[in-house]
């Protein structure tokens, strides 16, 4: 827990420093669809997990069309497998939760009036805060804590598009985990996170307030 808190504090401090020095800070929330990428083809029917996500961001302009962005989000990942055994439906929900920090570069690719679209790419690091399996079978649901079997840190790359209208932002983004989720990597083959998010954010232009005061 100390590690999670430390990561969050550092990221928030970085966001705040950037925000006050540059452009914008804000909050965002939305939907996140996640699934697993198995190195060996799975034999089960896996479906994505749809959940909400929320967090904060800070962005600042570096060049005319280029800006950088940092985000800290609480994201739930995982996937759901369904099947049938002994005449009963089986639903296995893998539930992972992370605090995720992203560092992104934004490139403006289109803009008209107050509407603009940026392409984004960057990296993310995530700290696992929860992991469990919910198994529903023959009318009973069992919950299992699997934190000890999931690595505490994840990381990878992120890419997407961000549309802006005034202070509002609409992000469509894919994150690809590059780290193997397994705490014990001597068993089985690798499993990685994949997710796709759709979020709405609202930003506050802190730099504008500061420059306004100077005038």
């Amino acid at each position: 827990m100390k590690r999670h808190c430390g990561t969050a504090v550092l990221l928030i401090a970085a966001i705040a420093a950037c925000a006050f020095g540059q452009t914008e800070v804000g909050l965002k929330m939305g939907l996140n669809a996640s699934r697993f990428a198995f190195a060996a083809s799975p034999e089960d029917s896996w479906s994505s997990r749809w959940t909400s996500c929320f967090g904060g961001f800070a962005s600042f302009a570096t060049r005319k069309r280029l800006s950088s962005q940092i985000e800290v989000c609480y994201v739930r990942k995982g996937a759901t497998a369904t099947g049938a055994y002994a005449g009963s439906e089986v639903i296995i929900r893998e539930r992972l939760a992370y605090i995720e920090g992203l560092a992104l570069m934004n490139l403006r690719i289109w803009s008209r009036n107050r509407i603009s679209v940026d392409a984004q790419a960057g990296i993310f690091g995530a700290s696992r805060v929860g992991a469990k399996t919910l198994t529903t079978f023959q009318g009973e649901t069992a919950e299992e804590d699997i934190r000890s079997e999931i690595r505490s840190l994840d990381g990878g790359i992120a890419a997407g598009l961000e549309g802006r209208w005034r202070a509002w932002r609409l992000d469509v983004r894919a994150t690809i985990g590059l780290a193997d989720l397994r705490a014990d990597r001597g068993i089985g083959s690798s499993v990685k996170n994949r997710s796709f998010s759709l979020t709405i954010g609202y930003g506050f232009r802190l730099v504008k307030f500061a420059s306004g005061a100077a005038h």
Binding site: F36, F38, A40, S41, P42, E43, D44, A81, T82, G83, A84, Y85, A86, V90, I92, E94, A131, T133, T135, F137, Q138, G139, E140, A142, E144, D145, I146, E149, I150, L181, R182, D184, G186, I187, G188, V191
Partner: protein, 557 residues
């Protein structure tokens, strides 16, 4: 409907429904023994199917030991379910990390896993997980078991011996039972020949392991457990047992002849010269205890594949003791008398060296080979010397010295297999693979093969490699076996260590004739059954050999 018949119909209907329910669902209790049995079975499935357990990622024995008290004290199905859940969690429960599947495609097909469907003891989520592990994962590679490099029988050297104390704690005594039970359950090729429900054996021995309050109680309970598989290879050895049975061996050998214990061989020249003990003497008592009573008491602790083997083992065991002095009550010529004899300390005892030649030509141009004496290096000379005989008697009432492979070069007209074998499929515990052994004999054919009659002598002393030798000789065209049923334990031996300094073993391969006939428990069955008689022993005759000679001379088919 007749008036007034409805109550009867209702009662009958209810009884029928109840009966149907009883038939449809396995009966189960929720008592301590049932819970512990279920725990031991779940532990065993995970041991041989869970990839992390098989890889030795955790101390699986310790995990069981920690769960046993909780399983004992569980009062409800939910409490016991959480014990099993804890066991699964200890192994690792995130199945999606291990393999391609999280939902089992099919239920366990083998009847030996039917207990998984007992919902009184196994909650649905645990059953699902066990089914997944059974469906998806295998024991191989497994730190606890591997195929022995030379033959493919189980190599169990990965098991911890826990030999510090001869009386382990209750948890380790149960570990001993669960370890043994699961190995036999999944890796004993002749489990189908045990003759009783192996699951019943588990439930029978749980209270015995718990009740064992002394090291002797425990070691005898393990002996009784190993005897339950009815395998003549299943010796059970420990310091405690050696001390109990005694380090002193009788100066003679006895055999079960005409339903009595009879002296067949005397090792002490002093006894022979003095004439105090004679071959053919019937032993009625040992230290004042009737032999029948000794046989009764010791019988359940000695494992034997068949009755002949059981008597053989008993006759070797009942005259052992913890001191030199042994008073035999001998019955000779209708007179009963006590005879004190001096036992021999086991470590100073050795089988007297053979004084007979490995081979000879008997009267009537009949060759004779003592297979217990013939060495591999002597085979060429032996077969050259006996090439012109009308028949050869292969005496396998002993333990041969690995000569069968060389002998087949002289005896087989063309290469042929003489056995098939089965071994555990380590990737699917509970299943066994069967295949024919290789062909032996000169290739492509052997125009100068021995054309005389081949007669094999075998009896209850013939075990293991000796039975294998008999099978190789039986493959010779026209070969005939004379004597009596052999011990019925062929195939390489797997050795297992159990807590408390106990070592036991079992026949780790199944051995069959090429046509699929079993040999385990059955042994080699004679074509002509001949057993020694007491009078024959007194007269110094070898009646089995005599019958063989008679057969060769054409006196009997």
């Amino acid at each position: 409907m007749r008036k007034g018949s409805w109550p009867k119909r209702v009662v009958t209907g209810a009884a029928l429904i109840a009966l149907c329910r009883l038939a449809a669902f396995p009966m189960s209790n929720f008592d301590e023994t049932s819970r512990l049995a279920a725990l031991g079975k779940v532990w065993g499935v995970l041991k041989y199917h869970h990839p992390r357990v098989a890889a030795g990622k955790m101390d699986w024995d310790e995990t069981l030991v920690a769960e046993i008290p909780k399983a004992k004290s569980a009062q409800t199905r939910e409490e016991f379910g959480s014990v099993l859940d804890s066991l699964v969690r200890a192994a690792g429960n995130a199945a999606f990390l291990y393999g391609p599947r999280v939902v089992p495609k099919k239920g366990p097909e083998e009847p030996l896993f039917s207990w998984i469907n007992d919902r009184d003891l196994i909650p649905p989520n645990i059953a699902l997980k066990l089914a997944l592990f059974l469906d998806t994962f295998a024991a191989w590679p497994n730190v606890y078991i591997a195929p022995a490099s030379n033959a493919g029988n189980p190599d169990l050297s990965g098991e911890q011996p826990y030999a510090d104390s001869s009386l382990p704690s209750e948890e380790y005594r149960l570990l001993s039972l669960f370890r043994y039970w699961n190995i036999i359950q999944y890796f004993y090729p002749s489990k189908h020949l045990i003759g009783r429900d192996w699951e019943e054996v588990l439930e029978e021995f749980i209270p015995k392991m718990i009740a064992a309050s002394t090291s002797l109680d425990y070691h005898l309970a393990v002996s009784e457990l190993t005897a339950a598989i009815h395998d003549s290879h299943a010796y059970c050895v420990s310091t405690t047992l050696s001390s109990y049975w005694g380090y002193y061996l009788p100066p003679f050998e006895a055999a079960y002849v005409e339903g009595r214990s009879v002296v067949t061989r005397i090792y002490s020249p002093y006894l022979v010269e003095a004439g105090w003990l004679r071959v053919g003497d019937v032993i009625a008592k040992a230290d004042g205890i009737a032999i029948d009573s000794l046989l009764q008491n010791q019988g359940r602790y000695l494992s034997a594949s068949n009755e002949a083997a059981w008597h053989r083992r008993l006759d070797l065991n009942v005259f052992r003791g913890s001191g030199e002095k042994l008073v035999l009550t001998i019955r000779r010529n209708g007179v009963e008398f006590d005879l004190p004899v001096t036992r021999i300390y086991a470590r100073t005892w050795s089988e007297p060296a053979a004084t007979t030649p490995p081979y000879a030509i008997l009267e009537g141009n009949v060759g004779y080979i003592d297979m217990g004496v013939l060495k591999t290096a002597d085979v060429n000379d032996c077969m050259a010397a006996l090439a012109g005989t009308r028949a050869i008697i292969f005496d396998v009432r002993n333990y041969p010295l690995g000569t069968l492979y060389n002998l087949t070069d002289f005896l087989y007209p063309e290469p042929r297999p003489f056995y098939a074998y089965s071994y555990p499929d380590f990737s699917a515990p509970g299943r066994f693979l069967r295949q024919n052994g290789p062909s032996y004999g000169r290739s492509p054919n052997n125009p100068s093969y021995y054309r005389g009659k081949v007669v094999i002598l075998a009896n209850e002393t013939t075990i293991s490699h000796a039975e294998f030798t008999c099978m190789s000789l039986q493959a010779v065209p026209g070969a005939i076996v004379i004597g009596s049923q052999t011990q019925g334990a062929d195939g390489n031996v797997s050795v297992l260590k159990l807590p408390g300094g106990i070592e036991t073993c079992f026949t780790g391969l199944g051995i069959y004739y090429p046509d699929g006939r079993e040999t385990q428990r059955i042994g080699i069955l004679p074509d002509i059954e001949v057993r020694p008689t007491i009078q024959g022993l007194i007269d110094g005759r070898d009646e089995v050999l005599e019958r063989a000679l008679e057969h060769i001379r054409g006196g009997e088919k």
